[in-house]
């Protein structure tokens, strides 16, 4: 007799069967798309295109896509789009392969692919895909960065056959959900989030479908603004469609198609060639997210493992914690996040044509996790997606390191990895209801490169044309007064320093009613990683003083214009946790936002002392950092004392070793001379001994650490400390929040010479991450 234990719901059954159809299990197109036969796809023999025509059509397609983007920018009326470029446009093949993206937010790219493919498989029979149609979509479970990013897209037909798609996605200011501005930080599941629309026909040959349009506007607190935002998207699609039709008319569809195919093929070929230069292996990263909902203090683990097998790349999230609160991403989001880093590192000279890159990728997600939700997971805060971009950047950086050319593309973390952002909502200075997201943080510090410093306020990497607006513009549109917007001093230290971020202080101004919702990472669990022994930077912090005396300070001629001065105000001061809502933001309430610095690269004791001296003079580093982090001795005239520095650095390396936990593992036995065969990190290489055995060794002193089949970290000296101890000057606010489990910052260093190999921020109880595991049999040469 069946018991209730053995009865499973149809939903659970579908999950167990792993049906990738986007109903109860995520969507993933598998095999040829199941498209209704009545939708005719454009088919033609691949035309021969001469190199001149190819270049001419490529340029025209690029311009069409940019015109699409500019049309949206100027018609949208949204400061989020106009000043921050929080949108993108693209052209895709008839089966949804993304061929071309404008230089705005790149993670819309992978999303676009799944959205179109889902539409083809699920809408071609009913309600049909026809000329003149436009669809709207924001359900992240299929794909989409978060529900606020509304996708609008249209098929383009040539002689009755589907030829290609044009697509855009724009961040709208409010699309409903429990929080104004739609970042639903308290959402335990999708049902608190903004509504999720799935490939809904918004426009057909008759024009806008009033039923769909009316319903869509009903979701928003700001329907008149949403109306304008949607109109701008429609205008963009209309223009791009017209231009592509003209192009096809002139050159013929098979020629235009051949250009698209060649572009994708060339990208795939370049990626394959690059991969062929690299050894196979496995690279892993573990990151802890925090603040699944306000007040949550548990660490939530995300794992990303990349395996390279020949010319193919396999990504897995195995080991990632179960989905929770508002911090999740869907499988589609996770895949598109990884795509951003793939494009940047492997297709930088192919205009990020992601369809070509994805010919070599495979994704193996565990579903029901933070990075691959099941149908109940909340996504409006898009946290796991942005973090996944940088986790992918980190594993890819380690993968490409052995190749001297690709190594140039390595970049430490950049803005938006672990930072926070803020939404404002309430009544503006003109008495109107408003809600908006402030995106100043995207102008934070760009991480260090493998060959030079990062860039102060260098902006996010996956957002090529990123720009923050003027403080005056924000004050014009919203009820706020900036107390300060200053360059931070918080780039991660290293042989090459990460770029500095921003310090932002605000007070509500001209409003009777305003609150803020803050979305960030727990300050103790920074995700602003450094690479190859470079230090991590701080994550985004929020600090508030409710009911402060800032106005009386104004009256007395004082402006608190730095984090230090802000803290001298009276009132109810509070360091805010990872997520906070309904934070008062009135005339006497101040909020401070410290945006992140970029991660550092390489051991700071390897930094050129002369540069350190210059940066001390310019104020980019403090005296304490110079002495304690960089070990540079400054002479009386302000220049670097090179001999003194050498001595001091030797002492510091010795001190490191004295403080360090001794390696757990034995040194490997080595026969004969070691011959270097492959550099795998700034201070690590693989070498072969006289008997053909491979070992990992220190590139600085040559010491053999372990066999190449072992985790070098188990054989390194390990200093366990707190990130905030490295350099308190990088942190404005002590990371005061306790995490439910103890957190540790580990520096793995050569047990012989003390040079740092790699740092990790993790839980005390967690084993060392095995971040680099090379298959020595595949090392070339």
């Amino acid at each position: 007799m069946a018991t209730t234990d053995t009865v499973i719901s149809p939903q659970d059954a579908r999950k167990q069967q792993r049906v990738w159809d986007g109903r109860d299990f995520p969507y993933r197109p598998e095999g040829p798309l199941a498209i209704a036969p009545q939708l005719k796809l454009f088919q033609a023999e691949r035309a021969d295109v001469d190199p001149i025509t190819y270049e001419v059509i490529s340029t025209k397609l690029w311009n069409i896509n940019e015109e699409h983007a500019e049309t949206i920018k100027r018609a949208s009326g949204s400061p989020v789009v106009a000043f921050h470029d929080d949108f993108n446009t693209c052209i895709m093949t008839e089966t949804g392969d993304p061929f071309l993206f404008a230089p705005y937010i790149q993670y819309f790219s992978g999303n676009a692919e799944f959205i179109i493919k889902y539409t083809l498989e699920n809408r071609s029979a009913n309600p049909k895909i026809e000329p003149g149609d436009m669809f709207v979509h924001n359900d992240c479970f299929i794909a989409g960065s978060h529900q606020q990013d509304i996708a609008l897209y249209a098929p383009i037909f040539v002689d009755g056959a589907l030829f290609c798609w044009v697509f855009n996605a724009c961040h709208v200011r409010d699309i409903g959900g429990v929080e104004a501005g739609s970042f639903c930080v308290q959402a335990p599941n999708i049902y608190w989030d903004p509504p999720a629309l799935r490939a809904m026909k918004l426009v057909d040959r008759e024009g806008i479908r009033e039923d769909a349009y009316d319903t869509l506007l009903r979701f928003s607190r700001l329907p008149h603004l949403l109306a304008m935002e949607l109109r701008s998207q429609i205008a963009g699609i209309t223009r791009a469609t017209m231009r592509i039709e003209q192009l096809v008319e002139r050159y013929g569809p098979s020629v235009v198609r051949a250009v698209m195919e060649k572009t994708i093929d060339d990208t795939a070929e370049a990626v394959r060639e690059r991969l062929s230069r690299l050894p196979d292996g496995r690279w892993s990263e573990v990151t802890y997210m925090s603040g699944a909902v306000p007040g949550d203090s548990a660490p939530h683990k995300a794992v990303l493992t990349l395996e390279k097998r020949g010319g193919e790349l396999h990504f897995s999230n195995h080991g990632t914690d179960a989905q929770t609160g508002c911090i999740n991403s869907s499988f589609g989001q996770w895949r598109s996040a990884i795509g951003c880093s793939l494009a940047q590192m492997l297709a930088f000279d192919h205009r990020f044509v992601i369809a070509g890159v994805h010919r070599v990728t495979h994704f193996e997600p565990d579903v029901g996790t933070i990075t691959a939700i099941d149908r109940d997971g909340a996504t409006s805060c898009l946290w796991a997606q942005v973090i996944s971009i940088y986790m992918a950047g980190k594993v890819l950086s380690k993968m490409v390191y052995p190749d001297a050319e690709l190594r140039q593309g390595i970049i430490g973390t950049s803005p938006l990895c672990g930072c926070g952002w803020m939404t404002q909502a309430g009544i503006d200075q003109n008495g109107n209801q408003f809600a908006t997201v402030m995106l100043d943080h995207v102008g934070g510090g760009l991480g260090a490169f493998s060959f030079r410093d990062g860039i102060d306020q260098g902006g996010a990497t996956f957002w090529p044309k990123v720009e923050i607006g003027d403080a005056e513009a924000w004050e014009q549109y919203f009820p706020v007064l900036y107390l300060y917007r200053e360059a931070g001093r918080n780039g991660g230290h290293g042989k090459f320093r990460g770029g500095h971020g921003l310090h932002l202080g605000f007070v509500g101004h001209g409003t009777t009613e305003q609150t803020a919702t803050l979305v960030s990472q727990n300050a103790r669990l920074s995700t602003q990683f450094g690479l190859s022994g470079g230090h991590w930077a701080n994550t985004g912090d929020f600090f508030t003083i409710e009911g402060s005396n800032v106005r009386s300070e104004f009256a007395q001629g004082n402006i608190p214009s730095s984090p230090k001065q802000l803290r001298e105000l009276s009132g109810r001061a509070q360091v805010l946790g990872a997520k906070a809502m309904y934070v008062p933001f009135g005339e006497n309430d101040v909020i401070e936002h410290i945006t992140f610095g970029g991660g550092g690269y390489g051991d700071p004791l390897e930094r050129d002392p002369k540069v350190v001296a210059t940066e001390l003079a310019s104020g980019d580093v403090t005296q304490r950092s110079v002495e304690q982090v960089y070990g540079v001795v400054i002479a009386a005239d302000g220049t670097a004392d090179l001999d003194g520095t050498r001595q001091r650095r030797d002492e510091m390396r010795q001190a490191r070793l004295a403080e360090a936990r001794k390696p757990a593992g034995e040194r490997p036995s080595v026969t004969g001379e070691l011959t270097n065969v492959c550099d795998i990190a700034e201070a690590l290489s693989i070498a072969r001994d006289g008997e053909g055995r491979h070992v990992v060794r220190c590139r600085c002193c040559g010491e053999a650490l372990c066999s190449a089949e072992q985790n070098y970290k188990e054989h390194s000296a390990c200093i366990e400390t707190q990130l905030s101890n490295i350099d308190p000057d990088v942190f404005v606010e002590d990371p005061v929040f306790d995490i439910d489990e103890p957190v540790v910052y580990r520096i793995y260093a050569c047990p012989s010479c003390g040079t740092a190999f790699e740092n990790e921020l993790t839980l005390e109880a967690a084993p060392p991450i095995w971040d680099i595991d090379i298959d020595v049999a595949t090392i070339r040469g």
């Binding site: 001469d50 190199p51 001149i52 190819y54 270049e55 001419v56 340029t59 025209k60 311009n63 500019e70 100027r74 949208s76 009326g77 106009a82 000043f83 230089p103 008149h224 603004l225 109306a227 109109r231 701008s232 205008a235 572009t263 060339d266 370049a270 000279d349 205009r351 593309g409 803005p415 102008g443 934070g444 860039i455 102060d456 306020q457 260098g458 902006g459 090529p464 044309k465 990123v466 720009e467 403080a471 005056e472 513009a473 004050e475 014009q476 007064l481 900036y482 300060y484 917007r485 200053e486 360059a487 921003l502 202080g505 104004f554 001629g557 004082n558 402006i559 214009s561 310019s618 104020g619």
Partner: protein, 696 residues
């Protein structure tokens, strides 16, 4: 005889154009003489004078006007050789110019450079942190004082700053354009402490919202201020010594010119005055020849500059990017892409196809055919291979070209593509022509213009060479090579076609329905300033013209558009705005329910200068009379027929009868440029010496 003399200093040559009072145009040319450009200036003037058999002194004494477009300011900025500037900023906001709105590594980059992130860098600060001083004061968005100006602190900090031996001090406070009180008081104090220091206030240089671009404008004004003070002084003084008795005028990027006092106050307006002068010339000629709609296409060695003239009016823009710094600067809208005769053709390893530019071989080493050590084929090399450019008669024979070197280079490139040398050369031309057509398309079609209503005015050394091709690709009515060979020195001509022009801005936000009286109140002080300034420059009453305009937008939108005022009622103003907005941004791009706003007000103050009177029949130098010289011929490879064709070659416009159309293919070799008339095209010369190319 009286003369109007215009001088345009470029990187390589200084051009001089002279229009006499019979409407005859003469030219002079001399090498530019950096760093002291004034020597080249007078060499070029002397060269023009000598063609008129006049000594410099006699020539200058008989000049009515002497107008000058200079790159001195632009060069100082691009080469980072400007003044040591100090900056006074609102407390908490001194870093704005260092933060560069987070776009300091990417602003203005071409797309392929943008996507290769490790190649991107941020420029060195134009004012380093140690010379940025934060002052306690704060206004809000309505111009209300939130925190009073701390004068004592200001005095102390300025005293400290002056010790750093700054040459100039920029003052840029938050919301100063809404209420200039604090900036004005700060200037008074600075001038008390350092009376000889050049000072600029942001509300004067760029009175509009956006502290970053306003601050950059004020700082750049200071950066070139001392240098321009000296430079303009030298030109004026040497002119006076050489016998010129009137006021020397300086071309401005606003599209007008200004006397020395105004230039010394706001030298920023001299930036880009050279390219803008080409547009000024085109605007003037658009009236004279009655071509209301023109796309100007100025193609030189490294860049292709485009602007749009619609209904005889040049299009303006309100900000400019130099070296990744963006600043507010009201100027005629000339946009550039990296496409010119020196643009390099190369094989993109990514696609295995050919690309052209944006890298350029420039003037040195220049194209392969220059024989100065160039190592890669360029657009000019392709033109030589095709037979379009005559290697023995380049720049009127002043430069002999090595055709064999061009042939070899292009052939090697083509070998990678499996194309013949001519196919490769034609491909290079087609790619660069397409780039230029796309650029023009973005500036016209995309902004609501119908290109079928437009002519292309092609000038610069390489503009006429490619115009027949890129203009046909774009789909315009035809091409005008204005004034024949004068096309190669059109910017210098533009300086003598300009009027004195000053621009006065305010940024008061008004919501519809508008109140005429309130608008009058805003305009009154602007007009008063304009009249005062003009009076000082010697213009009064009817000789000055004041034109009002407003910048308007829909309430919930970001992008604004300029609407000239001509006595409209408030209701008429609203509907005029809606028309202009729709024309510019496309149908249905507006949203009236969100309300309509005026966000800025502007007065253009113009004092008319005597215009050069170019008359029909007064043929320009290089084309004296209608002698029917028989053309020669050579083989030219035309892409249209895919092969060589024996093509008539005209030396100058001799041999062409006025208003008589001749079918292409043919080539007209002018002293400073070459005009191919492609198969399927026709050319005729008009009474002004313009060459007009039309398509079948």
């Amino acid at each position: 005889m009286a003369y109007s003399i215009g001088v345009d200093i470029g990187g390589t040559f200084t051009d001089c154009v002279v229009v006499d009072d019979r409407g005859q145009v003469h030219t002079g040319k001399a090498p530019s003489t950096p760093p002291d450009f004034s020597a080249g200036f007078f060499d070029a003037v002397q060269d023009a004078g000598s063609k008129l058999d006049l000594e410099l002194e006699e020539f200058l004494r008989s000049a009515n006007t002497l107008v000058h477009a200079t790159t001195a300011g632009t060069n100082a900025v691009t080469e980072r050789k400007g003044a040591t500037v100090g900056l006074l900023a609102t407390r908490g906001h001194g870093d704005a110019i260092l933060i560069m709105r987070g776009a300091g590594r990417t602003k203005g980059l071409e797309i392929d450079d943008l996507l290769f992130i490790p190649g991107t860098t941020k420029p060195a600060p134009i004012v380093p942190r140690e010379r940025i001083v934060e002052i306690t004061e704060r206004l809000d968005s309505r111009g209300n004082v939130v925190v009073a100006l701390d004068e004592q602190q200001l005095r102390e900090k300025v005293t400290e700053l002056v010790k750093q031996e700054v040459d100039a001090i920029a003052i840029s406070f938050m919301w100063s354009f809404m209420n200039p009180e604090h900036e004005l008081r700060a200037r008074e104090i600075v001038q008390e402490i350092a009376p000889d220091t050049f000072v600029s206030c942001s509300h004067e240089v760029a009175p509009r919202m956006g502290e970053y671009c306003r601050t950059v404008a004020a700082v750049m004004n200071c950066y070139i201020g001392p240098l321009m003070h000296k430079y303009t002084g030298e030109i004026v003084e040497r002119g006076r010594q050489a016998g010129y008795g009137r006021s020397v005028l300086f071309a401005q990027c606003t599209g007008g010119s200004a006397p020395i006092a105004a230039v010394r106050h706001t030298p920023l307006f001299t930036l880009d005055s050279g390219p803008v002068s080409g547009v000024v010339a085109s605007t003037y000629l658009s009236e004279l020849f009655d071509y209301p709609n023109i796309i100007t296409a100025d193609m030189g060695g490294t860049t292709f500059d485009v602007s749009v003239i619609s209904e005889h009016a040049a299009t303006r823009r309100e900000s400019t990017i130099i070296n990744k710094y963006e600043m507010y600067l009201s100027s005629l809208d000339v946009e550039s892409i990296g496409a010119g005769g020196g643009s390099i053709a190369w094989i993109d390893p990514a696609s295995g196809t050919m690309k052209v530019g944006p890298r350029s071989a420039g003037a040195e080493p220049g194209p392969l055919c220059y024989g100065h050590g160039g190592s890669e084929p360029t657009v000019t090399d392709a033109d030589v291979v095709l037979g379009i450019i005559n290697p023995d008669n380049f720049l009127g024979g002043r430069r002999k070209l090595d055709a064999a070197a061009a042939h070899r280079g292009v052939e090697q490139l083509g070998a990678h593509l499996g194309l013949s040398v001519q196919e490769t050369a034609a491909g290079i031309a087609q790619i660069v022509d397409n780039h230029m057509a796309e650029k023009m398309r973005r500036m016209t079609v995309f902004r609501g213009h119908d290109v079928r209503d437009f002519f292309v005015f092609a000038f610069g050394g390489a503009g006429p060479v490619h115009a027949g091709s890129f203009a046909r690709e774009l789909g315009v009515k035809g091409v005008v090579i204005p004034l024949g060979d004068i096309a190669s020195v059109l910017s210098a001509f533009g300086t003598v076609a300009s009027d004195i022009l000053h621009v006065y801005d305010a940024s008061v936000v008004l919501a519809a329905p508008f109140d005429s009286a309130q608008l009058d109140e805003i305009f009154a002080p602007l007009e008063e300033s304009a009249r005062d300034a003009m009076k000082e420059e010697g213009f009064e009453g009817d000789s000055i013209e004041l034109v009002r305009s407003v910048f308007m937008k829909y309430g919930a939108q970001i992008y604004d558009t300029e609407v000239p005022l001509g006595g409209e009622t408030p209701e008429q103003l609203v509907s005029k705005f809606e028309q202009v907005y729709e024309q510019r941004f496309g149908k249905d791009s507006g949203y009236a329910p969100a309300g309509i706003e005026v966000i800025r007000e502007r007065v253009y103050a113009t004092a008319r200068l005597p215009r050069p009177e170019i008359r029909q029949g007064a043929r320009c130098s290089g084309s004296n009379g209608d002698s029917h010289a028989e053309p020669g011929s050579r083989d030219v490879w035309w892409a249209e027929s895919g092969g060589f064709e024996k093509t008539p070659i005209y030396q100058g416009t001799e041999g062409l009868s006025v208003d008589e159309a001749v079918d292409g293919p043919l080539i007209i070799e002018l002293p400073d440029t070459t005009v191919p008339v492609r198969p399927g095209q026709q050319v005729r010369i008009d009474g002004f010496g313009n060459l007009l190319i039309t398509f079948e």
